[in-house]
């Protein structure tokens, strides 16, 4: 059925008039539709934002609590270290002090001794000099006496010089003897200085830890950011270590899966897995569990608070038991690894034999290196797997924070997008209204003209 131009024009004009008269209800319907849609999106955005905020706050509090706990522990460790330093170093301080006092006393004494000058020649030398002046050219008797006096004066002087030299020598000897005392004093001073330096260093470190603790306690934003950053870093590192450990577990599993079929019936299955495979998996898991117990009793990890509260003797008992069990598991794995090598060789020989190559069956293994290597690997891997407890704990403790941060991010992104959609819907409705008005622009303008004319005539009248 074809429509001619007059029909089309008529239809357009008719629809324009219809839409002109229906303008208000349609505008209202569009507004309501826009409100419903954008309102729904806005509500979703608000909900997402509030949930994200709650989650973030919860995460922040968790991180802060953990950070506070860590800082407190670090502070405690530092105090213990300081106490040890003080206990060890300061206990030796009295000895150093005594040594120093003794050295100083000795130095003082020796110094005092050094200060003693030898007695001078008797004071009568001046009198003799005067007498010699008076008696010049007088009596021979007097001259003889004077000569004797002169002689005795000279000999007295010589003796005095000799005594002086002896005293000086003695002083020098005393001064030379002072050297070890100086050295002892210096050494005692250096040791004291070292003690003081170490103590100062410990206190400086305590200051740093204390500052951090204060920042965390006061919930300062940089401290929170730093804590979250360190947790993310911890998460990534533990994730990498866990991936490597998983690789180790996989190798371990493959090492014992085949020989386990010799020990466990291959026909029975759990689900779709043969029991032998499950048994190998259980052994690997047991090694990890035992490792967790070892780490727990050593106080390295804290998965089970009850274990932490156990008395020291019981913990030691548990540790010994776990280590023995781990050793037994390592021995089992080692022997299974040897068995595996034999089975692989047998399998290869059988395949050759079934294919008709009989000569290969009798050929013995040329080298024992693979067997030894597998046995060592089988013995070492359980101990390596036992270490998984540490990164596992790190992963679990930091994982919550990272996941919560990710969920918060996703929620915020969702909230942002829904808010944008709500805005878009609002504007789309507005555009639709305008397009509607554009379509009916002629009757709309005519109507407006008529209304203004009517208003003018009313105001004139």
């Amino acid at each position: 059925m074809e429509f001619s131009a007059p029909w089309i024009i008529g239809g357009i004009v008719g629809s324009q008039f219809f839409l002109f008269f229906a303008r208000q209800p349609i505008h209202r319907a569009l507004t309501a539709l826009g409100m419903i849609c954008s309102g729904g999106f806005r509500l979703s955005a608000r909900w997402a934002r509030s949930v994200a905020d709650q989650l973030w706050e919860h995460n922040r509090q968790t991180v802060l609590n953990a950070g506070r706990h860590d800082s407190a522990k670090k502070l405690e460790r530092e105090f213990i270290r300081l106490e040890k330093t003080f206990g060890k170093e300061m206990s030796s301080y009295p000895t150093y002090h005594r040594k120093l006092s003794e050295a100083i006393t000795q130095i003082e004494k020796d110094f005092a001794e050094c200060g003693d000058t030898p007695p001078e020649a008797p004071g009568w030398t001046t009198a003799v000099k005067e007498l010699s002046k008076l008696a010049k050219g007088s009596d021979r008797m007097v001259e003889t006496v004077l000569q004797e006096i002169h002689k005795s004066a000279v000999s007295a002087e010589k003796r005095a010089i000799q005594e002086y030299q002896q005293a000086t020598g003695k002083r020098h000897k005393l001064l030379a003897g002072l050297q070890p005392h100086w050295k002892a004093a210096r050494s005692a001073l250096e040791s004291t200085g070292k003690v003081v330096e170490e103590t100062l260093s410990a206190t400086r470190h305590i200051d740093e830890v204390m500052t951090k603790y204060e920042q965390v306690s006061q919930q300062k934003p940089p401290a929170v950011t730093a804590l979250i950053g360190s947790r993310v870093q911890l998460f990534l590192i533990s994730l990498i270590v866990m991936a490597i450990a998983l690789g180790g577990a996989f190798i371990n599993f493959n090492l014992i899966a085949l020989p386990m079929s010799e020990l466990v019936p291959a026909g029975t299955r759990i689900g779709t897995m043969p029991v032998s495979t499950v048994a190998a998996l259980v052994i690997v898991l047991l090694e990890i569990v035992t490792g967790i117990f070892v780490m727990e009793t050593l106080g390295i990890t804290s998965f089970f608070p009850r274990l932490e509260n156990l008395p020291r003797s019981r913990r030691r008992l548990l540790l010994t038991g776990s280590l023995i069990f781990l050793f037994v598991l390592a021995l089992i794995e080692s022997s299974l690894a040897i068995l595996r090598e034999q089975l692989v060789e047998q399998e290869g020989a059988l395949k050759q034999a079934l294919a008709g190559v009989d000569a290969v069956i009798a050929a013995p293994a040329q080298s024992s290196i693979p067997v030894i290597g597998q046995a060592i690997l089988g013995f070492i891997l359980p101990w390596v797997l036992a270490m998984v407890a540490i990164p596992l704990e790190m992963l679990m403790s930091s994982g919550g924070t990272v996941i919560a941060a990710l969920v918060t991010f996703v929620l915020r992104l969702f909230g942002y997008l829904t808010r944008v959609i709500a805005h878009l819907i609002r504007f789309v409705v507005l555009i639709l209204k305008h397009l509607y008005d554009i379509y009916i622009i002629i009757p709309l303008q005519v109507g407006r003209l008529m209304r203004s004319k009517q208003a003018r005539s009313t105001s004139d009248g």
């Binding site: 010799e262 026909g267 029975t268 089975l343 047998q346 399998e347 059988l350 079934l354 294919a355």
Partner: protein
Amino acid sequence: MVSFWPRVLLTSMILLAMSGCSKQNWAKAVGVLIDVSGTYKDQLPDVVKIVNAGILASLDPGDSLFVVLIDDRSYEQANLIASIKLDVRPSKANQQKLETKQKLQSFAMTARGSAYSDISGALLLAAEYLRETGARRQVMLIFSDLQETLPKGTTRRFGSQDLRSMRVAALNVIKLKTDNLDPSSYRKRCDEWNARMTHAGAQELQVIHDINRLPELLAE
């Protein structure tokens, strides 16, 4: 005293573990049918090689193997030339495989040809043994030209459940002179066998020309 919920949890876990421990026989059972009729007897050494290297080598501990001879009247106990259920321990299973290999090789050297080939009788005999194993996967492998010729007075009809859920494959199917003249006769023969087997409850007959596909077929 243990509270209620931990007890419920423990019981559920035990029940779950018990239900997880399947009693189903996950092993596979393979029936091998070897034709020694005049048109196929020349293939015997090759067939034994395929059985040794392709089938025996692919079997896992716990699997079963039955080798049935197709001759004049195959539905009798004497036609079962080898029957083994592999031990669950790989080392023991390997030993059994070697013994079976020896048995099949000596069979290949001493086997006599037959004038007729009773494929249906061998199928029925092998099917009975396969069913008895209760294995989850039951596979029937036929080494023959698929040309059945029965001695006078012999009747072979399959019941609808005789080959129920069994996977049947024909391997190393040689073409007869008549097939060379008219290939449609070969296809018709294959189709007829397929119809008979599916009627007996087996899965669709697979004709395998490439022997390298054998491990794949057994692993499926």
